[in-house]
């Protein structure tokens, strides 16, 4: 076959001037576009540091503001820096927009000019015979198959590279998810079983004891003791750090916390000997403010009594640090919940229910919507649920109890007693019974929630209602000798309340009738506690009175400890542990505490 010939219109004759002009245009535009792209790139790299949302400087200042919420100069500095950053961000955005348009227009002109040049350079087809089409097709197909195999191989390698190192903790089966969730709740197969109710009752795991009414049946320790001479005192040891929290007893350990603005720690002592077994600083808590908040000395940083679930101990401090340790002192988890907005300092103690840690985190004013009740998983610190509370700051500790087999938590704050389901945090009932600044904690005794509206009224609520029970479930109320700081205590038959001036009043739990009152002549700010048939009352100046937990007034003993007591005593295993402002001591008979065979 011969190459066919055909006459075709010739390309436009190359006008050298036009060609040169087009060439120069292309060069100039290409250079300008290149320069613009370069400037945009430089600008992009430069603007990374000015991102108003990511500026490390701004974040640091904001963090500082958390610790110093009233620092006006700091606020102004943040405002100015924020303004600066956003100004520069707006400039960057405008710069990028202009640059983008510049490049776009440049590219359009460039393409037009380049196409113009291309028109001068049309190469006319000069086809020639090419007889081996079949062979060319075969070679092309062979090579194409090879490329296909190559693409397949690259895809396969990519699959391998992606798949081989991919490890995951997320299971895909629902059963696997249940397992992970159980593990997160600390209920995994490898988690130790939680203590039985009997074990829980045999210890003093929280503020106001295992029953939440500051009552144990056993009082095997001597009635009379002398801290100065050591008579009847099993051991005494100095308190290593200040704090108004009360001691806990679990197995053969006594736990308490202490600290100030700079250091905060948790301490464990041997119940038999009083020697300090371990001390752990609560430090490097993620999110803890660099500068601690200002807290009045009358509350301090460690006013909240710790709690234990029998496997771990939990401690809360006024700067919002919440820390958990195993019984042997190894840290488990810690987190900062944000500095609580509390005029007198945070003082609410921790509550516990099985493996859950419950925290009534009331702050600010009701309209701030800052207060909440949080249930943490004790093993991991995971928030199981949290519920906003329509109240402001408070200082009372909630009480956990069971009604018809279902656990409830009753809280006091503002004007409201609110009970929630421990399972999911849903509100069960509420009663409008309170006024003033709520410090005394509620207790649960004889199937009733007994609570105090400071210096106002003592009342009992049947906790099986729903919704607003103010009118329907308040069993009794009385306004006689109502304390303003201390919590009531009860042995299930009688309720005892102690005023700050030391008047102990006994009420019948059934109907709230006053049975007797007794002047102890003490200044009291710690809640009393009942061991067997004795009510222990400690004074802030070192005095102590023991009254009979009976329907008639009877003073069994009186003593002077020479050291003021601001914490409530702990009773367990036949001993009493008391924290004075300086000393931790244990009262026991010669046999010492009754411990189970296995120690932690």
């Amino acid at each position: 076959m011969t190459a066919p010939t055909v006459s075709s219109p010739p390309p436009p004759a190359a006008d050298p001037t036009a060609l040169r002009a087009l060439r120069q245009t292309v060069l100039v535009i290409a250079a300008l576009c290149g320069l613009a792209v370069l400037l945009l790139l430089v600008q992009h790299l430069r603007s990374q540091a000015d991102d108003p949302l990511k500026s490390p400087q701004l974040l640091a200042l904001k963090q500082q503001l958390l610790a110093e919420p009233k620092n006006e100069a700091l606020k102004q500095q943040i405002r100015l820096l924020d303004l600066d950053l956003r100004r520069s961000h707006v400039r960057d955005v405008a710069f990028n927009a202009f640059g983008a348009w510049f490049v776009l227009v440049g590219v359009v002109v460039l393409v037009f000019a380049a196409k113009g040049i291309a028109r001068f350079r049309v190469v006319l087809p000069s086809p020639h015979a090419s007889p081996d089409a079949a062979e060319r097709v075969a070679v092309t197909a062979l090579r194409a198959r090879r490329v296909t195999v190559g693409v397949a191989a690259i895809t396969g390698v990519a699959f391998l590279v992606l798949a081989l190192p991919a490890k995951t903790r997320l299971p895909s089966s629902p059963a696997g998810v249940d397992k992970v969730l159980a593990k997160l709740r600390g209920e995994g197969e490898d988690a130790p079983p939680l203590p039985s109710p009997a074990e829980f009752a045999a210890n003093w795991p929280r503020f106001l004891g295992p029953s939440g009414a500051a009552f144990v049946t056993n009082a095997a320790f001597p009635l009379a003791f002398n801290l100065a001479s050591g008579e009847g005192v099993l051991w005494r040891t100095p308190v290593p750090a200040p704090g108004f929290n009360s001691p806990l007893i679990w197995s053969n350990r006594v736990f308490l916390s202490g600290g100030d603005a700079t250091n905060r720690s948790v301490f464990a002592f041997d119940l038999t000997t009083g020697t300090q077994v371990w001390q752990r600083a609560v430090a490097n808590v993620p999110g803890s403010p660099a500068k601690p908040p200002e807290v009045p000395d009358s509350t301090g940083f460690a006013a909240s009594t710790m709690a234990t679930d029998g496997r771990r101990v939990f401690a809360m401090f006024a700067n919002g640090d919440l820390a958990t340790f195993n019984l042997d002192g190894s840290p488990v988890w810690s987190k900062n919940l944000g500095v609580p907005k509390n005029q007198y300092g945070f003082a609410t103690s921790l509550a516990i229910w099985q493996g859950r840690l419950l925290l009534q985190y009331d702050q600010g004013e009701p309209e701030n919507n800052l207060s909440k009740l949080i249930a943490f998983d004790g093993a991991t610190g995971r928030v199981i649920w949290q519920k906003p509370r329509p109240v402001g700051q408070s200082w009372a500790t909630p009480v956990v109890y069971e009604v018809a087999g279902k656990p409830q938590i009753a809280t006091l704050a503002g004007e409201l007693v609110i009970a929630y389901s421990v399972a999911d945090g849903n509100e069960l009932w509420r009663a409008q019974m309170l006024s003033g600044e709520i410090t005394p904690s509620p207790i649960f005794a004889g199937g009733l929630v007994v609570a105090i509206s400071p210096s106002d009224q003592l009342f009992a609520i049947k906790p099986d209602g729903a919704g607003d029970v103010t009118k329907s479930h308040v069993v009794w109320k009385t306004d006689e000798n109502v304390p303003d700081v201390t919590s009531p205590v009860s042995n299930g038959e009688l309720v005892f309340a102690v005023t700050s001036s030391g008047t102990v009043t006994c009420f019948d739990l059934k109907d709230g009738k006053k049975l007797w009152e007794h002047e102890c002549e003490l200044e009291v700010s710690s809640s009393p506690a009942i061991a067997g048939d004795r009510v222990y009352v400690f004074g802030t100046k070192g005095g102590m009175a023991v009254l009979a937990a009976a329907r008639e007034a009877r003073e069994l003993a009186k003593a002077d400890l020479a050291e003021g007591v601001l914490a409530s005593p702990a009773f367990a295993r036949g001993v009493m542990v008391v924290r004075t402002v300086k000393t931790l001591f244990c009262v026991a008979d010669k046999g010492g505490p009754v411990l189970e065979a296995k120690r932690p």
């Binding site: 076959m1 011969t2 190459a3 066919p4 055909v6 006459s7 250079a31 613009a36 792209v37 405002r79 924020d82 303004l83 961000h89 707006v90 400039r91 955005v93 405008a94 710069f95 990028n96 202009f98 640059g99 983008a100 510049f102 393409v111 380049a114 196409k115 291309a118 087809p125 086809p127 097709v137 092309t140 194409a144 198959r145 090879r146 490329v147 296909t148 693409v151 397949a152 895809t155 396969g156 699959f159 391998l160 992606l162 798949a163 490890k167 995951t168 997320l170 299971p171 895909s172 089966s173 696997g176 969730l181 993620p286 999110g287 919002g320 987190k335 944000g338 995971r382 649920w385 949290q386």
Partner: protein
Amino acid sequence: MSLRRFGIAAFALLAPLWNGGLALAEQRFPPPEFETGYKMPAITTPAPRGLAMEYVDVAVLVTALGVAAWLVHRKRSRRGLIVLSLFSLVYFGFYRKGCICPIGAPQNVAYGLFNPDYAIPVTALAFFLVPLLFSLFSGRTFCSGVCPHGALQDLVLIKPVKVPLWLEQGLSIVPYIFLGAGVLFAATGAGFVICRFDPFIPLFRMTGSFFILCLAGGFLLTSLFVGRPFCRFLCPYGALLRLGSLVSKWRVRITPDYCTQCRLCEQSCPFGAIREPLVATANPAALAPDRRRLGWLLLLLPVLIAVGAWGGSKLSVPASRLHPTVALAEKYLDPKKPAPTPGSATPETLALTRADENAEAILTTAAAVRRKFDVGGWWFGGWVGLVVGLRLVSLSTRTARADFEPDRGSCYACGRCYLACPNERVRVGLLSPAEAAGLNANRAASRVAASART
């Protein structure tokens, strides 16, 4: 132009870049003031684009497709197609910002099919189906002048470099793999990856992440010298249109009349779509190795599907991490996750706090997504195996052709080759019938020569 003059000009042109953004910001947290009685304006949300406008988009699409089909098959006008491309680029590209567009529509369809809670918008469905339907009748008319992506690449093409046919044919499986991945991620709810990695949307919107803008710049630069690189080597919707146009009722013909085999059109296609005539082999014995290969490849096909499916199943863990809930769940379960920082939380720690509060819901959802990927991975891997196998099979078969003609799947119906044909030039009056007479003689001669060879 001297260097100095160029410098001055460059400075004058680029100077506004430095002043482009005067300080426009206001203090975000101004100190409270109580004197002026100024009331903060209420925050308003702009109303969504009217539904009617979406139907306008569909109408514009249908009309543009009709016009494209008419320009390609009846009018045979490259100039008309350029005008239509410009219109599509402006309307679907810069005005509609590349959304809605058929390229991403398969994802809407896949997401709708596998997620009963999501009703596919009628417009998305129309944008998915209408160009496909057109391809069954008139080939890739959507690519020719309606697709803004194609139009942009086509219009900036200056000096096409010839990509070897074998490379082009070998790489033609990539769009199918990309399509499979897009469908997998959309069906599992992980996201619309085809849109996420679309290099032209940021150009239409004049904004985007640094990575995607670089990708866009790269594709645009390549498009100056390689015809339609995105359409040829990546476009997942083009992969579907290719299948449609393989069986289309009307196909693009270079010559309006008959092929004289003058070979003048041979190099006119910048996309390498023109195939030369190929006569069937007369000697069946010579075909034996080819037949054997074809047989082996057909046997290999199920093996490739099985191997691909197995490999795909192993991808469920890394692939599912593109799903935001899975990514959050994985991060949440990671013991080395960042600690929450109350007060000045970062988006990451905020998300982790959210996970902490809703662990059950997040883990359950993430596990459900992972299960979808477990199944989807098999399908995706199998799809890759099928695509590779079928491509190998198709590359082992031959299509006999009598004339120079565009490959049905690869032709974008751009109309560039029309005027390379002398018969077309006669038709449009650029050449007199007398001048073309010699060609007809050549054709007769070549036919005689061909019959003499066989």
